[in-house]
């Protein structure tokens, strides 16, 4: 994306685009975006204020909402933290070693994205529940995985993994071989090459993958509610609270929380993109993500 320059705002004549079809395609884009994104989000923006400031103020004073947001954010953060090394490891193995079956594994990685979240939720809850294939042995070791925040983290780890792998993989694949060879010839060991050459180059995609996974995770509903336990203040996630408020016929409350969740999610994304920009100092050519 070229940067918008502020210079000469309106100081030059209107220019036509080189290629034909600008108004048509811009019109279609605006119509599509306007109807499907701007319109509903406007409703979300305006609705909490429809009955004055009090619903929002009330929402802002609701300790339970903060608890739910905290659960959502912390679990999403932990899940992303777990996903980062795993995703990097997977991408690395697939791109660099191409072990037998790597194609199949490569295909499997997209599954969490494609499997319906409710199915994920039921499957994970069964798997990690007290009688499940993993839950039972873990229970014997005194580990309670499902129906606790740990369950939420497991579900979100599952959901977020493809985002990390898919953003690192292309960068790793196209990473110039000669740069690594240069480091090798300058005497850097394998570990030094990884830490000093590869990791800095992979940091931006890792971060943007993490940002996406995080944004997706804090809003996740289907796969989480089955395995979460849903105890207020403990394992209740923010989207569930929205549903709960709706169930109470409390639209103002529901939209207030929705708005707060959306705004916080956006703030996190913006923070990530800033972080990403500072990490990629020197890498002027951004990779378009």
């Amino acid at each position: 994306m070229k940067l918008l320059t502020v210079t000469g705002l309106g100081s030059f004549p209107r220019r036509r685009q080189t290629l034909p079809g600008f108004s048509l395609s811009l019109g279609l884009t605006l119509l599509w975006t306007g109807l499907l994104v701007v319109l509903p989000l406007t409703a979300l923006l305006l609705r909490p204020w429809q009955h004055g400031l009090s619903p929002m103020i009330h929402a802002l004073h609701d300790a339970r909402m903060y608890a739910a947001l905290r659960v959502s954010f912390i679990c999403a953060f932990l899940a992303v933290l777990i996903d980062l090394p795993i995703g990097l490891l997977l991408a690395w193995t697939l791109v660099r070693y191409r072990p037998p079956g790597h194609r199949a594994v490569d295909a499997l990685i997209d599954l969490p994205f494609a499997i319906p979240t409710a199915v994920t939720g039921i499957a994970l809850a069964t798997l990690y529940g007290p009688g499940g294939w993993i839950g039972a042995p873990a229970g014997k070791l005194g580990l309670k995985l499902a129906f606790s925040p740990a369950g939420i983290v497991i579900a979100l780890t599952f959901i977020g993994l493809p985002f990390i792998v898919r953003s690192v993989e292309p960068v790793l694949r196209s990473f110039p071989k000669d740069v690594e060879e240069a480091a090798f010839l300058l005497g850097a060991s394998g570990w030094q090459r990884f830490c000093r050459i590869l990791l800095p180059a992979l940091a931006p995609p890792l971060l943007s993958g993490a940002g996406l996974a995080f944004a997706r995770s804090i809003g996740e509903y289907g796969s989480v509610i089955f395995i979460a336990g849903n105890q207020p203040f403990h394992s209740e996630v923010a989207p569930l609270l929205i549903v709960m408020r709706l169930q109470e016929f409390n639209y103002d409350g529901a939209t207030s929380i929705a708005l707060i969740l959306l705004v916080t999610a956006l703030l996190c994304l913006i923070a990530v993109s800033h972080l990403r920009r500072s990490v990629s100092s020197g890498l002027v050519r951004e990779d378009g993500a």
């Binding site: 480091a183 010839l185 300058l186 005497g187 000093r196 180059a201 020197g282 002027v284």
Partner: protein, 354 residues
């Protein structure tokens, strides 16, 4: 630092295709060698092999008499400059240059100040002291090229390997920087191997040219030997514009098929042969034949380019003299400074120089 290759064969990774085929080459200490050849000839492959970047190969490769893999990379003393520089984009110029020192094991690593000093010294050497803090993406091609060189020089290598380092530069800058490189080579007592596909550049800067074709070395010699006695038509053609005149050798004479071209004495077995000649070695014999000459537009370096039109073909010659109109009529062409190659030579056999 001397390099010896003997019966060296390099296979493509995971295949039995030969990228380098039975290479024999010796590079003396302090020599400046240029590897030239068309695209795909194996120049890069040979250079990388010498750097020890391959492991699956056959034959002998000795650096200073020792097999390359016997020494850890840090002790090999090899500096490598990659075709597109391979700078570390996330590091400043200074950090790029310091990299080879930064990654030394603690015991052997100079202290921060010493590294800093070395970097400053190298930045001065490459005449970019003000760019220490810049990132590679902020540099022009020529500047990047010099940074890559400084990085390769930081650890004090004695062998410098350069893969088409001037590819991206514009012709005028190219000449300057190659002169500067030659200078550096002489001052620092380096052994240098340079890959290029530009024969003029190779001749300008190197002592020895190694001409490669399809994974083999066709000829390795200095510029005047290559010009005076090219081993094969390929070498001749590769090293400059070449005109070809088929003909026949008979009774101590080469008789061109084209009758507007004068036969000339040549000692060799009778049979079909072809004369190869550079445009500037062509002379005219005015009034002696049927061919006519036309002047072509401006040509460089005070030379003139003429188009010679014979009954059978048209070709061009180059000369420093401005021909008068009468010199341009009814000419016969003298190609006696050309080299004769017999058909077989076109493929394999060692040729006889004319």
């Amino acid at each position: 630092m001397s390099i010896t290759l003997e019966a060296f064969t390099q296979y493509a990774p995971r295949s039995s295709r030969k990228l380098l085929d039975n290479i024999a080459l010796t590079v003396e200490d302090r020599a400046f060698v240029a590897l030239v050849g068309p695209s795909g000839a194996g120049k890069t492959t040979l250079l990388r092999a010498i750097a020890g970047l391959y492991s699956h190969s056959e034959g002998t490769l000795l650096i200073d008499g020792l097999p390359i893999h016997d020494r850890p990379v840090q002790d090999r003393g090899i500096g490598f400059v990659f075709q597109n520089y391979a700078l570390f984009r996330h590091m400043t110029v200074a950090r790029n240059i310091a990299f080879g020192l930064d990654v030394l094991p603690r015991a052997r690593r100079p202290d921060r100040a010493a590294i800093q000093r070395r970097v400053t010294e190298l930045l001065d050497l490459i005449q970019l002291p003000h760019l220490a803090k810049a990132y590679p993406d902020q540099l022009s091609g020529g500047q990047r090229q010099r940074v890559a060189l400084a990085r390769a020089l930081a650890t004090g290598p004695r062998l410098l390997l350069l893969d088409e380092p001037f590819g991206a530069l514009d012709p005028l800058v190219r000449r300057d920087i190659r002169r500067w490189l030659r200078d550096l080579h002489d001052r620092m007592n380096l052994t240098t191997i340079l890959v290029t596909h530009d024969h003029e550049e190779a001749m300008d800067v190197a002592d020895t040219l190694v001409v490669m074709q399809e994974g083999r070395i066709v000829q390795a010699a200095d510029a005047s030997t290559l010009n005076g006695a090219p081993q094969t038509p390929f070498v001749m053609e590769f090293l400059g514009e070449t005109l070809k005149f088929p003909g026949i050798v008979r009774a101590g004479q080469f008789v061109p098929d084209n009758t507007d071209i004068a036969p000339f004495p040549f000692e060799g077995p009778d049979g079909d042969a072809t004369a190869f000649i550079r445009p500037h070695d062509v002379f005219l014999l005015p009034g002696a034949g049927q061919a006519s000459v036309e002047k072509r537009p401006h040509f460089s370096n005070g030379l003139f380019r003429y188009q010679i039109v014979t009954a059978e073909a048209a070709f061009e010659m180059i000369t420093p003299t401005d021909l008068s109109p009468q010199e341009m009529q009814n000419v016969r062409v003298d190609i006696s400074r050309g080299k004769i190659f017999y058909p077989a030579a076109a493929s394999e056999d060692p040729p006889k120089p004319a």
